[in-house]
Each structure stands twice: as structure tokens, then as C-alpha cells.
């Protein structure tokens, strides 16, 4: 009971503070929009030249959405470092409030933000030729929410441990960038040499990207959908567990 109430209070506060700083929403969208506008048409030209029959944007946008979700969630720890510095986290830890709610309230704010960004991206991509399957979009958004819950808590755990932006930035980049490159968001992994393909297969994000592509193209029979959603759900449970422990014992 208290956990739900406290989660809602922290969610409201975090949302309010985020909406007061719309800069971050715009920054988060800047990069994917540049990819959409400056890289998407190139990809389309390349695929039609190669004689591909599928729509390049229906292949490219799902990967882009995953990128927005991963980067958005992975960098959310920066906000927590600021809150640690202001003494806000410590002040709340002296109250009897639920420790789990400190994590969940913030993570749900992150999920809300990335779903808003994803929706804007999808709408912007329609004029470029993206074909939208409503049911597929809904399940993709669910997948993105799971990705948010998988990466935001890990970012918070890193923030609570490192307590410094200078240490967090290289860590996040060092993990998120290879994960995204290996997931085949820019070019099909089918073009990769065998060793790169097997590495890519071990990356859970690859299956999330494949799942999103299947969903956007109405390939409901694809086994990648269940695999991608399942992997992200498992990762989300693990991350939330790790991070709630970090919030409970955070000291200094």
C-alpha cells in the first residue's frame, strides 16, 4: 500500500521536475531525428539499389526506437547524481518512505518519457514512408517500456555507486554503444562476418530489435517477438531487483 502511494508521489515529483526542463526531451529526440532525416533516405536508396523489397523505414525505425529507449534510460542516472548532490535522496532516506518506491517512481517517469519520445518518432517517420500496424506499435511500446525498466535501474545503480558524472558518462557510453552496434540497428547483421554475427546473437538487444522489426512488419509468427519481449522482461526484473537493493543500502 505505502509502496504504491510513495511510488506515485515520487513519480509525480520526478515528472514535474522533468517537464520543467524540456531541454532533455528535445536533446533525447535530436539524435534519432537526425538519423531519420539524414541517414534514413540514404538507407532507403541503398536497399532499393540492392533490390530489397521491404520498406527501408519499416526496417530502420524499430531499431531507432530501441536506440532512443536504451540511451534515454541509460543516461537517466545523471539526474540522480544531481539529486544526490542536492541532498534530496538523503532527506528522503531519513523518512519512513518505501526504498523501492524511490527507484520505481523515478523509473516509471523514465518509461513515460521514452514512450512519449517513441510516439513522436513514429509520427514523424510516417511522412517518410513508415507503414504503421496499430497492434504492432502497441506491443512495441510495451517492449520499449520493458527496455526502460531494464536500463534505467542499472543507470541508477551505477549513479548511486559512482556518484560522479565524470565517472558515469564513460561507463554508460562504454556499455550502451557496443550493445547498440552489436544489435544491428544501423545495418542488417546478415551482412556481418560470422564472428560478429555470433557475438550479436549473444546480445539480448539484438532480439529486442528483431522483435520490434517483426512487430512493425506484422510478422506475428516470428519467434523473435516472444524471445525479445521475454529477454527484456527478465532483464527488467533483474535490474529492478539490483537497483532496489542499491537504494536500500545507499550510504555516504
Amino acid at each position: 500500500m505505502n509502496t504504491i502511494r510513495d511510488t506515485w508521489l515520487i513519480y509525480q515529483r520526478s515528472m514535474w521536475l522533468t517537464i520543467k526542463q524540456p531541454v532533455w526531451l528535445i536533446f533525447g529526440l535530436m539524435q534519432p531525428i537526425l538519423y531519420l532525416v539524414l541517414f534514413g533516405p540514404l538507407l532507403e536508396g541503398a536497399t532499393s539499389a540492392a533490390g530489397a523489397t521491404t520498406n527501408a523505414f519499416n526496417w530502420f525505425v524499430p531499431g531507432l526506437l530501441i536506440q532512443v529507449a536504451v540511451f534515454g534510460a541509460a543516461f537517466t542516472g545523471f539526474g540522480l547524481i544531481a539529486e544526490l548532490r542536492y541532498g534530496v535522496v538523503e532527506r528522503m532516506r531519513v523518512t519512513p518512505m518505501s526504498r523501492f518506491a524511490m527507484l520505481l517512481g523515478r523509473s516509471l517517469r523514465d518509461v513515460t518519457m521514452l514512450l512519449a519520445q517513441a510516439t513522436i518518432m513514429i509520427v514523424l517517420a510516417i511522412p517518410f514512408g513508415l507503414v504503421v500496424d496499430p497492434a504492432g506499435v502497441v506491443v512495441t511500446l510495451l517492449l520499449l517500456a520493458l527496455i526502460g525498466l531494464a536500463f534505467a535501474p542499472l543507470s541508477y545503480t551505477a549513479a548511486l555507486t559512482l556518484r560522479s558524472e565524470d565517472a558515469l558518462a564513460p561507463l554508460v557510453n562504454g556499455i550502451a554503444l557496443p550493445l547498440l552496434l552489436l544489435s544491428g540497428i544501423l545495418l542488417p547483421m546478415a551482412l556481418a562476418p560470422a564472428w560478429l554475427q555470433s557475438l550479436s546473437n549473444l546480445n539480448p538487444l539484438t532480439h529486442a530489435v528483431d522483435a520490434a522489426r517483426a512487430l512493425f512488419n506484422g510478422v506475428w509468427a516470428s519467434s523473435e517477438i516472444a524471445l525479445g519481449v521475454g529477454l527484456m522482461a527478465a532483464l527488467a526484473v533483474f535490474s529492478v531487483w539490483v537497483a532496489s537493493r542499491a537504494f536500500a543500502r545507499a550510504t555516504a
Binding site: 548532490r85 534530496v88 532527506r91 519512513p96
Partner: protein
């Protein structure tokens, strides 16, 4: 929401409280066996230089840091086994502030009340009450980032008392405040005591401990070196303090005055000789006569009642005043 527990008995009691910080190579014993008793309704001062273990002790008592060993009861609840009860009964105002600059004072206070379990309208009414009591009404709906240092500190205190705690912990409440804001903060803290709140504050300002605390403990290198009322502690120093300013042969003069029967203790520090004497007013003329007789002279001579700094000096061999003001 007022928390009540049985009256009588200490509000805070610690037994052999210790905290060791381990890093890869070294162990730092920040707090090395602290025994304290704080009575209900008093302002208890915790005086010591920076790094003495004040904040570490405070954070342990406020449930933020688990002790390495030792026990404590705070506001009638055991720190180790009933931390949630302790949390409900205490308020804690950290040293570095506790507000987000983008949040309004009112917004922070309402949220804080709600985190202590108040419903929305109760939290709003209580926030308005606290804003009024701390004279923050005109700034209530501005971002805390626009507040002056003194206002932000008052808001921090407000966040600590929203739920009417039995004990309020204040970590260096006036560090960084100008003299007016400091005097104002002292009044607020005394007001809290009048309202029945027990106040436990840390400070490295002698004047603050002297002026504000009903009782105090002096801590150095993680250990309590003296405890009592300011007057009791000063009496232990035994008598008055005469300070001689010397630029000649300080060792010879020290030897000479130390041998006098009315001098209890003598020590030198740079170009100063510090004497503890029973009766300062009769000691000064005698000292002048003796030095004259020996052909020695002092440049300056001053007489003072002992201060808390003398207490600290006597217990630790160092002066608290050597700490540069933060």
C-alpha cells in the same frame, strides 16, 4: 501525526557506538566508542573540529549509516531493530542542504509531509503552517534556487520538522551563514526547544555551542573528550586563564612562572604563554612583579575566564580556533 513516547529517561542513548570506514588499503576509525545521553527537551551540542566524527555519529543516529558496532536508542526505539520507528520520530537536517533548486518551498514541504504519511490536505495545511512559522510565506511559491542562504537553511529546517518529530538532528546548522542569519537561526532553534522538541546539533563554532547548547559533548578523533554544561566544562579547566605575549626567551619565562605556587598549569604556544590560575585578578600583579624581579618582560598580558576553547585545548592539546572558518 505527533509522535509520543513515555516521558522521562533519555531521548537519545548510545553505548560504545563505533564506525569504521574501510577502503581497499586502509581502515579509518571515524567514531571510536561514543557513549552519549541526551535528555528530552534539551538542546544538545556536539562540538568538535572538522573530521572529528560529528557527522558520522549524527548519520548513524539518523538511521543513514549502520554502526560498525555498539547500540543506541533514539526517541524510544532501538536504532538497529526498529529503524522505521526511529525514522517516524526524528527529523534530520543535513549539512549540505536538502532541496531541489527547481522545486518550490511549498512543493517540497507538501511532498515531505506526504512521505510521512499525511493526506494531501493535511500536508498542505501543515506546509502553510511551517512556512508561516519560518517566515517563508512570501517565497513559498518560488523555486528554492532563488532563496538566500538563510532562507534555504530555514526551509531545510522546515523539511525536518514537518511531521513534528520528537528529536531534530541538525548538522552544522549555521555554517556558511552571515551573522544576522546565524542569530536568526539560533532563535529558531531555541523556539523548537520551547515547543518541546529535543535538538541535537553539531557545530565547530565555539560561540554556537556556548550560546545555544544546554549541554554539550566535545568530540575529537572519534572520541568524546568532555561532556557537561558549558559552565561545568569551563569549571573543570580550573580557574582563570592568563595569557602572556613574549618575544624573548620563552622557555626561561615558562620555567619561571611554572614554579609559582598560584599557577596551576602553564603551556606555551608560538609566542604565547598560557597560564591557568585560581584567581586571575590577584595573579596578574604578582606575575608582573616576578618577571620584573627576574629582569624579564612580557609584551602583553591578558586575563580571561576560561572559554570552551580552553576546555578543548586542555583535553586535546590543540585549539579549535586554529580551524580556518569554513
Amino acid at each position: 501525526m505527533t509522535t509520543k513516547q513515555g516521558t522521562g529517561g533519555p531521548m537519545i542513548q548510545t553505548h560504545d557506538l563505533r564506525r569504521t570506514f574501510k577502503s581497499r588499503k586502509s581502515e579509518i576509525e571515524a567514531v571510536r566508542g561514543v557513549d552519549l545521553e541526551v535528555q528530552a527537551g534539551e538542546i544538545f551540542g556536539f562540538l568538535g573540529p572538522n573530521g572529528a566524527g560529528k557527522t558520522t555519529t549524527l548519520r548513524m543516529l539518523a538511521t543513514l549509516l549502520p554502526p560498525t558496532s555498539g547500540t543506541a536508542t533514539v526517541a524510544g526505539a532501538d536504532l538497529a531493530t526498529e529503524p522505521q520507528t526511529v525514522r517516524r520520530r526524528i527529523g534530520y537536517v543535513p549539512q549540505g542542504g536538502s532541496t531541489d533548486p527547481a522545486m518550490t518551498g511549498r512543493g517540497e514541504l507538501v511532498l515531505q509531509g506526504r512521505l510521512y504519511g499525511m493526506d494531501k490536505s493535511t500536508a498542505q495545511a501543515r506546509a502553510a503552517e511551517v512556512l508561516k512559522a519560518l517566515d517563508l510565506e512570501s517565497a513559498a511559491d518560488r523555486g528554492a534556487g532563488t532563496y538566500s542562504g538563510g532562507m534555504r537553511r530555514r526551509l531545510d529546517i522546515g523539511l525536518g520538522i514537518v511531521h513534528r518529530p520528537s528529536v531534530l538532528f541538525l548538522d552544522e546548522p549555521t555554517t556558511g551563514l552571515d551573522p544576522q542569519a546565524r542569530a536568526r537561526m539560533w532563535d529558531e532553534i531555541r523556539g523548537l526547544r520551547e515547543g518541546g522538541t529535543t535538538v541535537f546539533l553539531t557545530t565547530h563554532y565555539l560561540e554556537e555551542a556556548d550560546a545555544l547548547a544546554d549541554r554539550l559533548a566535545i568530540i575529537d578523533h572519534g572520541r568524546i573528550v568532555a561532556e557537561g554544561t558549558a559552565d561545568e566544562l569551563k569549571r573543570q579547566v580550573a580557574g582563570d586563564v592568563v595569557t602572556l605575549g613574549i618575544d624573548g626567551d620563552i622557555e626561561h619565562i615558562l620555567q619561571t612562572v611554572r614554579d609559582q605556587p598560584f599557577v596551576r598549569e602553564a603551556s606555551s604556544e608560538d609566542e604565547l604563554i598560557r597560564l591557568y590560575v585560581d584567581q586571575g585578578d590577584t595573579a596578574v600583579p604578582q606575575l608582573i612583579r616576578i618577571l620584573d624581579g627576574e629582569g624579564l618582560r612580557a609584551n602583553t598580558i591578558s586575563l580571561a575566564r576560561p572559554s570552551l576553547d580552553d576546555v578543548f585545548l586542555r583535553q586535546t592539546g590543540r585549539s579549535l580556533r586554529e580551524e580556518p572558518a569554513a
